[in-house]
Each structure stands twice: as structure tokens, then as C-alpha cells.
């Protein structure tokens, strides 16, 4: 049932930034927020229908728009983005639910526990408590940014990213959690690992998760 009109949050103020000469970043906000993410996904879908837009990728609370510079200028497209962002987004359907087993024995678990003044066991319990939302898919193939992570586990990213993180690593940073689908560089704290395959190269789309899905972790020994 749609919420009563009066309680609907106002349309966000959009800030448009150049990302080179053929892309724009449209920021809808700076908070990790399901409503903003729903708006970003809807805005990206609306922008993708435009002739002058090559790609529109929703972030947590933003849309990155790659455009055809022969058909649009940053100013003309920026104005169009603001118009579209002011529209009411369609009602979002609840996403699919995935249950993911995790072995909580990551290389950063001890350090994370120490920084948060928790036991490693407690970190695992808190991490596997919520049902997370997939805010966006990206970074590397199959990666999903999930959250919100409980405040008790909030930590900044590592100061120097690792150049190689093993596939299946379950990680946290800020109010987010994620799983490294492939060996790749990364700056998040590694608290566990999973055997679930998130990247399925011979399927199209090649990822298990998509934006809007829900994910529940549970502790496992295998």
C-alpha cells in the first residue's frame, strides 16, 4: 500500500558534477538510505531510456551517467537529470532473499574485534544479525555493496588498500558489507569467507545479486 502523500519525503536536491567530458555524477544525497537508493535506481532506469545517454549506473545515492557528447552537453543533460529526479519514483518491490553461509575466520577479524572492543565471536554475531539490502552491484564483477551494517561494526576503510584479496572474502567498511567475488584489490576489512559463487560468467547478467535484493548471512563451519 502506498504511503500517505503527506509522509512522502521531499524530492532530493540533486548535485551534478562532471566526471570527465563524457560522464556526469548526479548526487541525490550523502546518506546510506534505502529511500535514496530506490530513487537512484529509478532515476538510472529513466535516464537509460534517453537517446543521449549511453549508460546510467545507480550508486548508493547517486547516478553515474555516461553520455554521447555529440548529442548532449553537460548542461543540457544536467537540467534533464534534475527534472527526472524531481519525479516521484515508482513503488519498489521487495527484492529476492539470499541466504549466505560464512566462515567467520578472516585475516582482519582479530584486528577488527580489537578496534571495536568486541570479541571476534561477537563481531560474527552482529554481522549475521540483519537482513541487508543490496544497494548496488559493481566495483568488480559480482560484487554487491550491502548494508546498512550495524553501527557497532562501523570502521573506516584500510588506509592502504590490499593489492590482492582472495575470492569469497566477506568484508566490512563504514556502514557497508560485501563479498569479494574474485581475487582483486580491495580496501575493506576481511572478517570471513564464503563458498557461494557470486560471479557466474556464463550467465547474463553474470551476477548472483542485483540492486534491491536482500541478503542474510549465517555462521557456518564449512
Amino acid at each position: 500500500m502506498p504511503p500517505p502523500r503527506s509522509s512522502r519525503p521531499p524530492a532530493p536536491r540533486v548535485r551534478i558534477h562532471a566526471l570527465g567530458d563524457t560522464a556526469l555524477l548526479a548526487e541525490l544525497g550523502t546518506r546510506l538510505d534505502t529511500a535514496l537508493n530506490t530513487r537512484a535506481i529509478a532515476l538510472a532506469a529513466a535516464l537509460k531510456k534517453r537517446r543521449d545517454v549511453r549508460q546510467a549506473i545507480a550508486g548508493y545515492a547517486s547516478v553515474t551517467v555516461h553520455f554521447d557528447p555529440e548529442q548532449a552537453t553537460p548542461d543540457s543533460l544536467g537540467a534533464a537529470i534534475k527534472r527526472l529526479a524531481a519525479k516521484r519514483p515508482p513503488m519498489a518491490e521487495p527484492g529476492r532473499l539470499h541466504r549466505i553461509p560464512v566462515i567467520y575466520r578472516g585475516p582482519d577479524l582479530e584486528e577488527v574485534a580489537e578496534k571495536l572492543k568486541l570479541t571476534p565471536q561477537r563481531v560474527a554475531e552482529i554481522h549475521s544479525r540483519p537482513i541487508y539490502r543490496v544497494f548496488l552491484v559493481g566495483f568488480v564483477p559480482g560484487w554487491a555493496y550491502m548494508g546498512p551494517l550495524p553501527e557497532e561494526l562501523e570502521l573506516q576503510r584500510r588506509h592502504v588498500p590490499r593489492t590482492l584479496v582472495p575470492a569469497g572474502s566477506v568484508a566490512i567498511a563504514g556502514r557497508q558489507t560485501g563479498i569479494y567475488p574474485l581475487p582483486s584489490p580491495g580496501g575493506w576489512h576481511l572478517i570471513g569467507s564464503t563458498s557461494v559463487k557470486l560471479f557466474l560468467p556464463d550467465r547474463d547478467p553474470p551476477c548472483l545479486f542485483r540492486a534491491g535484493d536482500r541478503v542474510k548471512f549465517f555462521a557456518s563451519t564449512t
Partner: protein
């Protein structure tokens, strides 16, 4: 489809690339494709192909190829001193090759990536709409890997028009790979740099570090100090200059991660990505701030250079 070239020696790192798979970005798959798109496009046009056809991207050194059939090839981008049967031949020129001829390369004289196009377009495994090689996924191009000795290179089709050798891109129309000034537009998070760091970003000399590949280059040089809360991750673009908290900038290239949360302080413009694509570890570079209008002029002058090749072949 026929085997036109056999790989005798693959060179240091040679992959099949086209213009990438931009439609897969939303699934988190890097766009990929040629690092130097101007050189890739020019190579194709010189042999009468479409710009989107696959070419070989040869990193730091060229391969040794033997022709199995007569064909027209063109070598563009970095100058690795190409030779046919030991005799030096011109870069940026369509060259007729006879069965049994050997294409080899000498020393690296300028740039880091040479492109080889073959009339008819190279055949490669297609993955998510592109023949570009993605090593991480082990898909696309030559079975998702770089070339090795013994590989057969086939063409996608017969040359589309009577293939003629001798087409040539005049030197004045080629990118100046020896000038490592990368033009960039201030990025979404430029205000997170303090005044001194902003001056350094657009004034200091950086070096491509050893951690440099098709995903991006970590840059050695002055540290850039950023401030502010951590950002929510957002979609990225090739050319974006990210600054992690430790202050060592990263320039994102063709196989870049599709989203990230480090501040983007500037983005290299599309016309300068060609030069960026030619950089290798140890190279010096600097960033120069430009307006969107200037970036448009640079882009259009490169497009005009490629158009001149199209007109040539008409």
C-alpha cells in the same frame, strides 16, 4: 573465417581488444577494450575494418607473427620498430603481407602499447557483447587469456572491401605520445583537497608506479591530502583520478572497477586517455586542468583525424 596469422612468439603481454562492453558496467563488469582507442580505431580504419573490430593490443613488446594467408595489417600506437622479414616497416600504415612473411618487432622507442589490425577484423570469443579479453573473468578474446606461442589468429570475415595497402595516417594527425601531459577536468570531490594538494595535483610531476596494469595506475609522487567523511560508493569512469586516504592517487584505466568510494579529484578527458593508455611503469606524467569546452575541441580534432582515414578509404 580463416587462420591468417600464427603466433610464433606472443610478446610480453598481447591481448585481443575491441571497444569493450559498456553495457555490462551495470553488472559490475569492467568496460574493458583498447587502452588507446585512437590507435585501435586508426589501425582498423587503415585496413578497411569497422572501428569496433578486434585488434591485438601489444604491451611493452610486440609479438612474432607468421602470415598463413595474404592479408593487410596495420600497426599503430606505440613504436616498437615493426619489421616484415627483418626489414623495418612504417607504423600507422596499411601493409600487405604475403603467406610465410614474418612480422616481428625491435626495440620500444615510444609508448607502451601497439595495436595490430588485420583486414577482416580479428576473431575472438565474445563475452557480454565484446571480444575484449577480460583476464579476471577469463573470458573474451583468445579464450580469456593473453596470446601464447602456437595460437592461430583468424579473421571474423573476408575483408569488407578490396583491401589495399599503403593507407597512412600523417604524422601531424597522430597523438603525441612523448608529451605526457594529461588534460583533466576537476572532479566531484576536488574540494576535499587542501589548497596545497590541489596545486600539486595540477602542477607536480607524478610517475607511473610498478602497480600499473589495464585496471589502473598507482602514481608515485607527492601525497595528496583529502579531508571529509568516507563517501558512499558510486559509479566510476575511465580516467578518474581516485585518492585513497594514504594520498597516493590512482588513475583508472580501461579495465577499471565499475564503482568505488574514494574521492575522485579529477578525471582525465577522453582525448587524453589515448596518451594515458600508452604509459608504462616509470613514465613521468603531469595533469593539466582544462575546461569542458577545451576537452570538446580536443575530442573533435581526434575524431576529425579518424574521419580523414574514412574519407581516404571511400
Amino acid at each position: 573465417m580463416k587462420a591468417v596469422l600464427r603466433v610464433v612468439e606472443p610478446g610480453l603481454f598481447t591481448t585481443v581488444q575491441d571497444l569493450g562492453r559498456p553495457n555490462a558496467i551495470a553488472a559490475g563488469v569492467p568496460p574493458g577494450g583498447a587502452m588507446d582507442r585512437f590507435a585501435h580505431r586508426a589501425a582498423n580504419l587503415l585496413v578497411g575494418n569497422a572501428e569496433i573490430d578486434a585488434t591485438l593490443e601489444c604491451t611493452l613488446s610486440g609479438p612474432h607473427l607468421r602470415a598463413e594467408h595474404a592479408c593487410i595489417v596495420a600497426i599503430t600506437g606505440a613504436d616498437f620498430e615493426p619489421r616484415i622479414n627483418g626489414t623495418q616497416v612504417a607504423n600507422w600504415t596499411g601493409i600487405f603481407v604475403s603467406p610465410g612473411d614474418r612480422l616481428t618487432f625491435g626495440a620500444r622507442r615510444a609508448g607502451g602499447r601497439a595495436y595490430i589490425a588485420v583486414a577482416g577484423g580479428l576473431e575472438g570469443d565474445r563475452w557480454l557483447g565484446s571480444a575484449s579479453t577480460n583476464l579476471m573473468a577469463a573470458r573474451g578474446g583468445m579464450h580469456g587469456r593473453n596470446l601464447k606461442a602456437g595460437d592461430q589468429l583468424t579473421t571474423a570475415r573476408e575483408a569488407s572491401r578490396p583491401a589495399v595497402s599503403g593507407h597512412h595516417l600523417p604524422e601531424r594527425l597522430r597523438p603525441r605520445y612523448t608529451d605526457h601531459t594529461l588534460f583533466a577536468i576537476a572532479g566531484p570531490h576536488i574540494k576535499r583537497l587542501d589548497a596545497e594538494s590541489r596545486r600539486l595535483l595540477f602542477g607536480a610531476t607524478f610517475n607511473v608506479s610498478r602497480e600499473a596494469d589495464r585496471m589502473g595506475y598507482r602514481l608515485d609522487g607527492p601525497r595528496l591530502a583529502t579531508s571529509g567523511d568516507e563517501l558512499l560508493s558510486f559509479g566510476l569512469a575511465a580516467g578518474a583520478i581516485q585518492v585513497p586516504r594514504a594520498g597516493q592517487p590512482i588513475l583508472l584505466m580501461a579495465d577499471h572497477q565499475t564503482a568505488g568510494g574514494y574521492p575522485v579529484v579529477a578525471t582525465v578527458v577522453s582525448a587524453s586517455l589515448q596518451v594515458a593508455g600508452q604509459l608504462v611503469p616509470g613514465d613521468e606524467l603531469r595533469f593539466a586542468e582544462v575546461t569542458i569546452e577545451r576537452a570538446r575541441q580536443m575530442r573533435q580534432s581526434q575524431a576529425a583525424a579518424l574521419d580523414s582515414l574514412r574519407d581516404d578509404l571511400r
